[in-house]
Amino acid sequence: MKAEEITWLGFKRKNGSPGIRNRVLVIYTVKCSEFVARRIVELSGSPDVELIGFDGCTDNQYAVNMLISMIRHPNTGAVLSVGLGCEYIQPEWLSDIAEKEGKPNSWMFIQKEGGTNRTIEKGVSWVRETLAKLADTERVEMKLSDLVIGAECGGSDYTSGLAGNVVVGRFFDKLVELGGTAIFEEIVEAIGLGDLLEQRAANAEAAKEIKYTYEKALDYCKSVRQYSVSPGNFAGGLSTIEEKSMGAVIKSGTKKIEGVIKVSSPPKHPGLWLLDSTPDPYWMQFGITNPNDSEGLMDLISCGAHMVFLVTGRGNVVGSAVSPCIKITGNHATFERMSEDMEFDASPVLLGEKSIDETAEELMSYVSEIAGGKPSKSEAMGHKEFFIPYKYQEKEVAFIRACERKSD
């Protein structure tokens, strides 16, 4: 079947963008309510009920934006927020957001409900009723052009830049040609490629955003004398950050870059977008040049990605809450050794057994199956990792540093 003819049934959402899953999110608003929220998820007995949350207690705009983006996410069908009762983040206001999105919602304070067991009991019964309601969610036909897909790489080895990321790049080219949306990240892994990225900008504004974002990352790496490479990368044969960068950026394919988006800010229209997840200047001391893979996946999902790719040569086991994660490797030995976790083998490209194009087509048909409801390997095993840290970031590319801005 031709890619443009592939369809499946998604879940209709009030804000227009349909989902490929219909999850109930149980959100804890402070570390103190995590246990109760987690028990509600476990006792609900459904793989569609998932836990996310922020440890707090002090709030953080970045973290709140991320929670809101998960509530608005097309794969989210309903939301239960569980707070302790004295933290900064307000579960009631999270519920209000879900209400505006037309999603069933509720919230509780453990202090008010009367402790652990009473809150768990009430939560579980709300979740069960809600699951029954969600079974009636209106379905809508979806195509590949409706999808937003994000990609990042982690645990890279020499195969990532020669096979795994190359296949993802070709897949992104095809997705964009079909009218879909592709997001790639890791600007700290683009050092050495500033001009190359800028030349790929779709317009002058995008070029300005890319230049600023690249220079921000480069300034940071220079100031801490640390680039996003590790001893393991060097031992595996990568000799410089530029070499690693090109292997990483190749996953963006060859299409024009529409602009730079920040965490929790979905792309304004289809096409290829660069996600900048690094902290903004002045707050860079909180920044890290090497975020963990779950953080990267959450960043992509916060921008509305229905599905995320994790390209890994060395292998990884993580999945993700909210959106299915597909792990792709270009290392055949890794694929064999971790076969229960690795989902897509791009190594035939390296071995000369299959063309890049053929392999990208195979990935596309696999993506359609997962979009149509087949659980990814990590979903089937119950991997629902999430990570919401304290971070400082403006919502849009901020050409003026926060510390340089005149106070109002």
Binding site: D157, Y158, T159, G161, L162, V166, I191, G192, L193, L196, L218, C221, R225, Q226, Y227, V229, S230, P231, G232, N233, F234, A235, G236, G237, S239, T240, I241, E242, E243, M246, G247, I250, L350, L351, G352
Partner: protein, 110 residues
């Protein structure tokens, strides 16, 4: 052929070893470009780069068709290319890492 290396762009002056390639062995070059065979002048570990031609000190190392760093010594065709003979144009620190293990040598452990 027993040994193989992958050249990802035809303008590259390096290829990536897909197997360990011992010194003095011939290996097949797959991927882009016309060069189909190469003889190694030293052992090349898997995942590491092999020089596809003679490269002079300060010349650029090209992979993916882009500059990934520069030569810090004259490099003979068929040699192993890594931290001992090339460096980044950005990252100073990586030149001080151990060429085999990648371990940092610029931090003192007492």
């Amino acid at each position: 052929m027993l040994y193989r290396a992958f050249r990802i762009n035809e303008s590259d002056n390096v290829a990536t070893a897909l197997t360990e390639i011992p010194k003095g062995e011939r290996c097949e070059i797959i991927g882009e470009g016309n060069l189909r065979e190469m003889e190694t002048v030293e052992d090349i570990p898997v995942g590491h780069k092999i020089a596809l031609c003679d490269i002079k000190k300060d010349e650029s190392i090209l992979k993916y068709g882009v500059v990934i760093g520069r030569a810090t010594a004259d490099i003979a065709s068929g040699s192993w290319i890594h931290l001992h003979v090339m460096c980044s144009n950005f990252d100073e620190r990586s030149s001080h890492l151990d060429a085999v293990t990648g371990a940092p040598k610029d931090i003192r452990y007492e």
